[in-house]
Amino acid sequence: MSVEYEAVVGIECHVELKTKTKMFCGCANQFGGEPNTKVCPVCLGMPGALPVPNAKALEHTVNAGLAFGAEIPSFSKFDRKNYFYPDMPKDYQISQYDMPLTMGGTVKYWLEDGTMRECRLTRIHLEEDTGKSTHAGSGDGRIAGSSYSLLDFNRAGVPLMECVSEPELQSAADAVAYLESLRRTLLVLGVSDVKMEEGSLRCDANVSVRPVGSTELGTKTEIKNMNSFRSVERAIESEIERQIASLRAGQRIVQETRGWDEVHGVTHPMRSKEEAHDYRYFPDPDLVPLEIAAADVERLRAQLPELPWQRFERYAREYGLGSRQATQLVDNVSLSGYFDRVVAISGNAQQSSNFVLGELSRLANEHDVAVAASKVSPEHLAELVGLVDSKKINSKIAKELLVRMWDGVGSPVAIVEREGLAQTTDPGAIEVLVDGVLMANPAVVADFRAGKTNVAGFLVGQVMKASRGKADPALVNELVQKKLSA
């Protein structure tokens, strides 16, 4: 008999905030650049330099908290986390210990099939990033075996928001969906670029497993070194499997930090700490407390945009869009704004979505121009949707029209009228065309009657051609079939 296990996962994210300047000084907060060129006495931890908090970073953090429905305590403060590390200029990090800017909250996320789920947040706090170390002298750039390290402090002091989730995620897929939702939300708020590849989003996962039905948490491990959402998913999956296999083999899980090995697809125990960290947190005497007025919180709350999960629900529930289309729209803020305007006029969400995500996005990619910046206005696209909707034109004509609209011809209604492109839906007129085509192609008609029914398509095409594309394709098809079978 074998016990069934379930996983419990928590995610800790570090998010670099998008500000012009660093957390406590006026140096540029910018990715990359020549080493040690974006530094000053403050972010280099020079003797006598003092920190002054960036108001924008505080606002970003409060906004993030509000977006997740967190509580914004009226009192908050900065603390010093003391430990020595070469890339940390002051050998303490200004962080928040027991009074973070935001407490609690919930991240709503959805799975690929559109199922909505929730994971509670413990807290979000604000701190400063460290510099970057490059380990050299070993050839492979890794810390183990290196003979010296090179330090660049451009990143030192960049505002860093730490979002800690409760251990409530049930699988690797859950964890990734949670991260996706977190990323989308922070992007919509404009508080971060949230790019894992540039390190503006970094995350660690706490993973444990327990027998299904148990309410007690198992021993957890902390997984580090995951550099993409894909590696987060693989690492968590692999770790869950490893833990279950260990337990089944009668072993115990050791509480430890494990590093994800992308190449071999496994987690390894990282060298354990020489001593338990004793960070000696205490209130930073260089900084004064933060008192956040309820009125300011309400002002920020009122300014929150529609959040990705809210938008997803609106598309899925109200508009009846499929999960994939809804997600695609949610993921492109400017596109979904455009889409919303089209729907507002056309009233047909599905058809609007088809155009926006289909032909229009194809054109936009081809020309490397954002849809919202193209010559196709939402009003004109809505007209096009209306023309198709009312069967005034067929989809083929619509596509051709859209290409011309992309080039800037303006209102499709006007063109259809001017050029007489309206779809022919008069059965009499179409019947004349069908008869003409059948008479001109006796051999094909004979083939059909001999059983090669697939040649009907050719005949339908000929009729459409004769109508210059304007005939209602459904009607043409119906009449061709009818005549051939007569």
């Binding site: 020079m46 003797p47 006598g48 003092l50 908090p53 003391n82 050998d91 205490f282 900084l287």
Partner: protein, 495 residues
């Protein structure tokens, strides 16, 4: 020229503004005098000849262009824990022995903007930790009134420089008494403003919640001039107070009528011996003679000041001094790996007092001890501040000794705690953030000594009442004139 440089900062500025003397002339005279007395005094770690001349020329140009500057041509000694761009800034420590500051402290910049001339960087106890200047790793400073005695500390170099006429204004920093005690030992006015009044930006931190820059001067008026020039909000220091600064350098009141001065019941001066008791009782009587009403007040928690301070200040210092790690600047002593490099660098770079305080502070913040030590000390700090609040409900200012003895001889305090007790009278005010100053109040020849040594009366007022504080001190100074009773015991001065 000797007359000018031995005069007050106010006098120098008046002459330079009136174009009766040039800033460059005064700078040259001061530098020459420094060369003459430094062998005896040792106030400076670095003398800034070129910098002083360049600044003096600039001041002369500005005066010629019609500007009037409150500190025009005034020679200034800058404690070597304050940054001045392009100059060596050591904190009296081997770990920063060769560090060139790449920026200027706000307070120093303001003094220079007001026309001050930086003569040199003055010696101090290493990282401002000490009460005698003996903890400097880079030099020995002697008390100009008796070269066998200490100048006090930690701002001992600034105090000795001003006492020996090597500057008219000494910039000091006070964490537990480091301006007031050397002020008392060197016959000066040593003024610590309210915490947050003078920007700490560019002041190398010892204990951030206590450190405060202030002047050491030969007159109260000079202290007020220096304070007016360097005080006020600085956007680079989150803890600097954004509140208008009322000018303090006069006009002065004639007497102390209508003011109540609190005498602290717990600070019984009989404990200080007959001579000192008589001097302080006379000082209190003089305040009364000037029209003040003396009232007894109580500071029941003040005796906990020293233990409270020796938890709070080391805790903050243990963290503030972590950055001296041999990575970005300062001394490095190599090791097989970065960890060993840290251990070796800090072992070689810090002196014993700094090490003691780092250790005790690390202990007070460490897991399992935080509540028992650090939090308890912070709560005691609240009680001490409340004591003062209650006392100030009954009086306008408090008068007490600035130190329990006059300047002592070198190596007199071998036990660290006996040195810590030197700050017994100055620590409570620092913990409460209050403005306080020491003003000369008499002379006593210490046992075993042959020369009379100065003593200081400490006056304290409520938060932000600097104007009242300086006004009272000015009144007392004018009425008593203790500072001019003796001259420094220096060959170059006596000659």
């Amino acid at each position: 020229m000797t007359e000018i440089i031995e005069g007050s900062a106010a006098g120098i500025a008046a002459q330079v503004n009136a174009r009766q003397a040039g800033a460059l002339e005064i700078a040259e005279a001061t530098l020459a005098h420094v060369r003459a007395v430094e062998g005896e005094v040792g106030a400076y770690l670095t003398v800034l000849d070129d910098r002083a001349r360049a600044q003096a020329r600039r001041v002369d140009e500005r005066i010629r262009a019609g500007e009037r500057l409150p500190l025009a041509g005034v020679p200034v000694a800058v404690k070597d824990n304050m940054c001045l761009e392009g100059t060596r800034t050591t904190c009296g420590s081997k770990i920063l022995e060769n560090w060139i500051a790449p920026y200027t402290a706000t307070a120093v910049a303001r003094i220079l903007e007001a026309g001050g001339i930086p003569i040199g960087k003055a010696n101090c106890d290493e990282f401002a930790m000490g009460s005698s200047c003996e903890n400097s790793a880079l030099g020995v400073t002697h008390n100009p009134y008796d070269l066998s005695r200490v100048p006090g500390g930690s701002s001992g170099g600034s105090a000795a420089a001003v006492a020996a006429y090597e500057a008219a204004i000494g910039l000091g920093s006070d964490t537990g008494g480091s301006i007031r005690e050397p002020g008392a030992f060197c016959n000066l006015v040593g003024f610590k403003p309210t915490y947050g009044r003078v920007s700490r930006y560019g002041l190398i931190a010892f204990a951030s919640s206590l450190d405060q820059i202030g002047p050491l001067t030969r007159t109260v008026e000079d202290a007020a001039l220096a304070y007016d020039a360097m005080g006020g909000y600085d956007p680079m220091d989150s803890t600097s107070i954004n509140r208008p600064l009322e000018p303090t350098a006069g006009p002065w009141r004639d007497d102390l009528r209508g003011l109540r001065v609190g005498i602290v019941r717990e600070f019984d001066t009989k404990k200080l011996g007959t001579d000192l008791d008589a001097i302080y009782q006379k000082a209190y009587a003089d305040l009364e003679r000037l029209g003040a009403e003396l009232v007894e007040v109580s500071l029941p928690t003040a005796e906990y000041g020293v233990p409270t301070y020796y938890l709070v200040a080391p805790a903050e210092c243990s963290s503030n001094l972590a950055r001296f790690d041999g990575v970005r600047y300062g001394l490095r002593v190599d090791g097989s790996d970065v960890r060993a490099m840290y251990d070796n660098t800090r072992a070689a770079g810090f002196g014993p007092e700094v090490k003691r305080r780092i250790l005790i502070g690390t202990h007070a913040l460490s897991s399992g001890y935080y509540d028992a030590y650090y939090v308890r000390a912070q709560k005691a700090r609240t009680l001490i501040a409340r004591d003062f609040e209650r006392a100030f409900a009954r009086c306008d200012a408090i008068a007490c000794p600035a130190a329990s003895c006059p300047a002592f001889v070198f190596n007199a305090k071998s036990d660290p705690y006996s040195m810590y007790l030197m700050d017994y009278y100055t620590i409570p005010m620092a913990l409460a953030g209050l403005p306080a100053l020491s003003v000369p109040c008499g002379w006593a020849t210490p046992e075993g000594g042959s020369l009379p040594m100065p003593l200081g009366l400490q006056l304290t007022t409520p938060l932000f009442a600097e104007r009242l504080l300086l006004d009272m001190a000015h009144s007392y100074e004018t009425a008593t004139g203790h500072a001019t009773a003796h001259r420094p015991a220096l060959d170059a001065v006596r000659a």
